[in-house]
């Protein structure tokens, strides 16, 4: 007995040998090898485009590798589809959840199971409730997914893997959407799973999490394994260095500023949601001061999108006296009218809202810069091109030239372009959503510096981000949104991560202080 147990531990759960995957114009995985033992929590690190996603999709059978072998429990296997992967005992929690909102939790889980598995389980709802208790995952099988918070949805995804008695669990940036409290809950679950012998492959950008929970780490850069390490013996800074090479300039923190005069103000902004899965805004009050960055934290889907849409004017409902710009009421102005006054906007969605995918960078520049480059109704193409080129060289945007289509740029480069374009208008107010989401360390640094420069020139900036570290780094004052309410706004020096985390979870919401008409709504 002891002998077999020992033997079992000597055989890796999964071994990837020389996996290579070539996409047109990009070698996504170049001879990648990786070994995972049972019960090991292994981090897969790398900047965007380093090949992490391709590698896990290969393991999960979504992507077929060009060459290389996968050895599962000591046997060579070919994983041609996700259902084969699941039969082996591989489960995956996607970064963008693969849940169906109009179905219930147990229907969502049922869809992933084969008939055989379903018969073996019997009463699925009962099984879900049992597993919920066993692992401390609070999931109600009968609720509809659209009524669940992001954290709850992630628990459903994990539950989906648990129901199939998973042996290898892959998590793609699982913490990027969670509050700090939810993150520690997730880590508890992962540790319990690992103790029972489940291997975990953990993709993350957040290095302090990796050092906290992972025993091994593999670092990818440009599709190649550049390093492996034991995270517990490293610091976040040393791991960051391995990820980006020698370029890593770890941000040492920036000086905080106090704004001068109020440029923009929102007063008792209350707005019902426009669609069933949206969030209603409830009595939101804040002001933006010149030369200051106001940071708003919050887990996705708590009203950020709705807030950005109404401030930018994209949501064209008239909120007349609730929004003021330099003491002028702007609630009835169109998005274009607000831009003319000196408000610029960087939306969360880069392709489709921040830029038109099929248009060149030059043309995309024209979209928000029409004033200077149109004379007598004619576009001044030459000067427009020159300007686009200035943006490209100033922000070191990697592309073929000003004629490149927006969709051909990587996320980070496109974001640098959009930021540059908006900052280039010398806005008095810049509204900016998730500026470095999915952007690699180098580009994030450039974007941060551009924001701070703009602030120091006297602009008022509203920064909405899910990344708490980023907010603490950049914001001069901060608050959090939860369920459409905005928490009190305090100076960043006086804020703690714990405090903001609790606000993100809604502890500031005092139900008794609601207006009666809101309570009815």
């Amino acid at each position: 007995m002891a002998e077999t147990l020992k033997k079992r531990h000597l055989i890796p759960r999964i071994e990837l040998a020389n996996i290579t995957k070539q996409y047109p114009g990009c070698l996504a995985n170049d001879n990648v090898s990786l070994t995972l033992m049972p019960g090991e929590i292994h981090a897969l690190l790398g900047e965007n485009g380093a090949g992490k996603s391709t590698l896990v999709k290969t393991i999960y059978g979504v992507v077929a590798p060009d060459s290389g072998d996968i050895i599962w429990d000591g046997k060579a296997v070919e994983i041609k589809s996700p259902s084969i992967a699941r039969d082996l005992g591989i489960g995956m929690v996607f970064q963008h959840f693969s849940l169906f909102e109009t179905l219930t939790v147990s229907q969502n889980i049922e869809l992933c199971l084969s008939k055989k598995q379903l018969i073996a389980i019997g009463d699925l709802a009962k099984k879900i409730t049992e597993l919920s208790k066993e692992y401390g995952l609070d999931v109600n099988p009968n609720r509809y997914v659209h009524s669940l918070s992001i954290g709850e949805r992630q628990r459903v995804e994990i539950m989906r893997c648990l129901v199939q008695s998973v042996k290898l669990l892959i998590l793609d940036e699982p913490t990027s959407v969670l509050t700090p409290q939810e993150v520690s809950g997730l880590f508890e679950v992962l540790r319990t799973l690992a103790k029972e012998g489940c291997s975990i492959l953990f993709i993350s950008h957040k290095l302090h999490e990796v050092t906290e929970i992972c025993q091994q780490a593999t670092i990818l850069r440009g599709g190649k394994v550049v390093d492996t390490c034991e995270p517990s013996k490293e610091t976040p800074a040393s791991i960051a260095k391995m990820m980006v090479g020698d370029l890593a300039e770890q941000d040492a923190g920036y000086s905080k500023k106090v704004g001068t005069h109020t440029v923009f103000e929102a007063k008792s902004l209350t707005l019902p949601a426009k669609h069933p899965f949206g969030t209603s805004l409830k009595n939101i009050n804040f002001d933006l001061k010149a030369g200051e960055i106001l940071g708003i934290a919050g887990v996705a889907g708590n009203g950020q999108d709705e807030l950005m849409a109404i401030i930018s004017g994209e949501d064209d409902r008239n909120v007349n006296n609730t929004l003021t710009f330099l003491s002028q009421s702007i609630g009835n102005l169109s998005a274009g009218g607000r831009r003319k006054l000196g408000m610029a906007y960087v939306p969360e969605e880069r392709l489709g809202r921040g830029a038109v995918p099929d248009m060149s960078l030059t043309e995309n520049t024209l979209l928000t810069h029409s004033e200077g480059f149109v004379k007598n109704g004619l576009v001044q193409w030459q000067s427009l091109k020159n300007y686009a080129n200035t943006l490209i060289s100033h922000y070191k945007i990697k592309c073929h030239g000003e004629f490149s289509e927006a969709k051909s740029l990587s996320g980070g480069n496109l974001q640098k372009f959009i930021m540059g374009r908006e900052i280039g208008q010398n806005p008095k107010v810049l509204i900016c959503a998730h500026p470095t989401w999915g952007v690699d360390v180098g580009a994030a640094l450039a974007i941060h510096q551009a924001l701070l420069e703009l602030r120091d020139q006297g602009a008022a900036i509203l920064l909405v981000s899910e990344d708490i570290d980023e907010l603490f780094l950049l914001a001069d004052r901060m608050g959090a949104v939860c369920d459409g309410y905005l928490s009190p706004v305090i100076k960043t020096e006086d804020a703690t991560i714990d405090q903001i985390g609790q606000w993100m979870a809604g502890t500031f919401i005092d139900t008794s202080s609601q207006h009666p008409e809101e309570a009815i709504a």
């Binding site: 059978g61 979504v62 996700p82 259902s83 693969s98 179905l103 229907q107 049922e110 869809l111 069933p276």
Partner: protein, 310 residues
């Protein structure tokens, strides 16, 4: 208005509503998988003409129905290849299918105009048809009407109670997620499209073999479009589709009834009743965007190609 007339009107409403019901039952399955096929009118005409020719040549109406269903699914297969494999726009392709079907059916049917066939005869169901009033309204029809009752029950059951229904809903809501958990999205959509085509072909053969057992150019007169509206009217629910089909059927024969009663209204005005009803219902439904979005398949009309995923 006496009881006999009411019975007659309701009987006719069911008869008139049946082709709408058949198309809408097929289209709702298609739309649940996320595909909007606007080619109903063209597929229906092709079903009607091919069904008529087959029945006329063989002397067997059953062959006609079979041929019409095959024709309908073949037409929808063309649509499927264009939309699913070649990534064509669903709306444009559907419209093209309608125009194509209208023209082609007129062309191949030109030699058959003016002929008649022996269609299906009404079958009174023993016992049930003896129920006063109800029996005459519901159980004195031809076999295709009974078939539509059975199909409605089966489709409602499959869509709401089985795994197939769950898969269909998943594919229509989020094809990317469905693909990621290993559902073959394209296969599901092909099957749904072809099922829809077969149902529309069946409805076409009902027109040319039962409703008016003859072929005339453009004889479906916009029923394919009304059926499309019916699916939205019913907010993608099978029970409501059945109710709506008969309601629309009733609206279509209203002008005959009122004329019979001697009401002095232009028959042209009354003939547009079902279309007006469609517009009003669409306006009412669209006004409540909240509900519409919860009920509609969320990826309806959006293309999905698994080969283009990174």
């Amino acid at each position: 208005m006496d009881a006999d007339l009411i019975v007659l009107v309701l009987f006719a409403a069911i008869k008139t509503g049946t082709p709408l019901l058949l198309i809408a039952l097929g289209e709702v399955i298609c739309e649940k998988s996320g595909i909007l096929n606007l080619g109903q009118e063209g597929m229906m005409l092709m079903g009607a003409v091919v069904g008529f020719i087959a029945a006329y040549s063989t002397g067997n109406a059953g062959f006609g129905v079979l041929a019409a269903m095959l024709m309908g699914s073949f037409m929808s297969l063309i649509f499927g290849v264009l939309v699913l494999h070649l990534g064509a726009n669903q709306v444009a392709t559907g419209l093209a299918l309608t125009i194509f079907g209208t023209g082609l059916s007129a062309f191949i049917g030109s030699d058959f105009v003016g002929h008649t066939v022996q269609g299906f005869q009404p079958i009174a169901i023993p016992l049930l048809s003896k129920i006063p009033y109800l029996g005459e309204i519901l159980f004195n029809h031809d076999i295709l009407v009974y078939l539509s009752f059975v199909l409605a029950v089966i489709i409602a059951y499959v869509a709401n109670k089985t795994r197939i229904g769950l898969v269909l809903k998943a594919v229509g809501e989020n094809p990317h997620a469905a693909n990621a958990i290993g559902i073959k999205v394209l296969r599901v959509r092909y099957l749904a499209i072809m099922f829809g085509g077969a149902m529309t072909g069946l409805a076409g053969s009902y027109m040319s073999l039962v409703y008016t057992p003859m072929w005339a150019e453009n004889m479906t007169a916009g029923r394919g479009w009304i059926a499309l509206a019916l699916v939205v009217f019913a907010s993608w629910r099978v029970g409501r589709i059945m109710l709506g089909a008969y309601l629309f059927g009733f609206a279509s024969i209203m002008h005959l009834v009122l004329q019979g009663l001697g009401v002095d209204i232009s028959s042209n005005l009354l003939a547009m009743m079902p279309y007006v009803a469609t517009v009003i219902v669409m306006v009412i439904i669209s006004a409540d965007q909240f509900k519409e979005k919860l009920l509609a398949p969320r990826s309806l009309g959006k293309p999905f190609d698994p080969r283009h995923m990174a």
